[in-house]
Symmetry: C2
Subunit: 275 residues, 2 copies
């Protein structure tokens, strides 16, 4: 692991790092915020997964999470959203290929050699962060849009790995959305049975969650037809999953939305990650 | 109006009163909590509508609203749930007739002469409370189960009359529930077009709400199949209605549920009723 940059932020450290990823077969960049409390010992760790077109950098810069994480004593990890590099397959569309890994392990050409973001976030980067940073074994996960999808699906598929869960405007029902069918088809193939475990609305019904879930959605989100929040909210209610689903009036899909509610999400995770 | 009882409670007054109702053609009993702030001038007013089998007394005794209302400076009105008296029609079932007015104006025999709870709460008791108590023209409404249904439907049908809205475990889709079809059929007749404005799930889609809505629902509620919370939660999300729908883990349908979240609801209304 190499350090790209480290900046003091709210008495903690906002860092950017690179490492050679075996899982993605390329160099990967990620960011970590370490709060001041980490100087005294390991702190719980919140994973923030970003959306389409983002890198590790967007949320790190615009979501305002550091202030809240410093207050709560949480580390925050910001992974990239796809493999990167000249030899990594891509597509002309913004929503496939680079910047659009969808947090799955691709099985199809030309994506399979590098697009392994599910295992990357779940296992490889997790192990690296636990080795290199003063984080405890208490981890929470959240994310925005495609990253909200990633947070929900990674957590529900791996309940032993995450103790807390939330999402901002997640892609909630990708097996029934143009934000989903295209990508799951490309990465996983035409057999839709392989898609099912990457759809949070379906997972809510099939496996549920061991704790409670916070979801915020802006009522003026320009992508409501693609996100399908009503599918997720109905599934949470039908499956009686402990949850808070908030339709926030007037907010769009931007980081102004994320930053407005970032404090609530950090607090949500901090309360559940505390021992 | 006659005073049945008045008891000091959290530096305010919990009273029970009777009056001759013209709308229901019978004597009606109701309760009002006036907080200490009312001594200095009119205070905003929260209406709490109760559920099947209840009178004005259940929530007054068991919901714990007074402490929160005193803290927030809200009056709370507890109407009865049906007309009362020897000459008022009734049914052997607990969910039709006395204690089960469903907050509609009955048009069918034998119910029409007395079962006018919609107009009673909306107009007659409102005018009496505004005349006899130091309340302002800012009113909010909430309720539990059948009363949650009443709160949601009265408010959405009369947005100029209520500035804030919430519900505890409401009967959310009565036109598709055995808690609803039986009663709406009995009180309003077989023509289901007359039922539509008494179904909050349908109203969310048709008229919406001018502000935001808080709904709490217990995940272990023994009446989930009758309440149909998923219909309401999906409608709120699909219609993009500003709202917070909380599936509360482990809570049932009792006043232990209501009292647990009473503070949040009082706070919700107080924040929105303040000028």
């Amino acid at each position: 692991m190499q350090t790209v940059s480290e900046n003091r932020s709210f008495d903690g450290v906002q860092g950017v790092y690179t490492h050679a990823s075996e899982v993605c077969s390329c160099d990967m960049t990620f960011a970590v915020y370490m709060p001041p409390q980490a100087e005294a010992g390991p702190v719980p760790c919140l994973w923030y997964l970003s959306g389409l077109t983002c890198t590790h950098e967007n949320a790190m810069t615009k979501a305002g999470l550091q202030e809240h994480a410093a207050e709560a004593g949480l580390a925050v990890v910001f992974p990239d959203t796809s493999p990167r590099g000249a030899d990594v397959a891509d597509d002309e569309a913004y929503d496939l290929g680079k910047g659009a890994g969808f947090y799955v392990n691709a099985t199809q050409a030309p994506w399979a050699p590098h697009f392994q973001m599910y295992d990357y976030v779940l296992t490889e980067l997790r192990a690296l962060v636990e080795k290199e940073f003063a984080v405890s074994d208490r981890h929470g996960i959240t994310g925005h849009s495609m990253g909200g999808h990633g947070a929900l699906t990674l957590a529900m598929n791996n309940p032993d790995r995450y103790q807390s869960l939330s999402a901002f405007a997640p892609i909630a029902h990708p097996t029934r959305s143009d934000w989903g069918r295209k990508q799951l088809g490309a990465y996983l193939g035409a057999d839709e049975t392989a898609w099912l475990r990457h759809d949070s609305t379906l997972l809510v019904r099939s496996v549920g969650w061991h704790s409670d879930i916070l979801v915020d959605q802006g009522s003026k989100d320009q992508f409501l037809d693609l996100l399908k929040p009503e599918a997720l909210s109905a599934a949470l209610a039908e499956a009686r999953v402990p949850s808070v689903f908030r339709m926030q009036p007037g907010y769009d899909h931007s980081y102004y939305f994320v930053s407005t509610f970032a404090r609530d999400h950090v607090r949500w995770h901090a309360d559940r990650l505390a021992l």
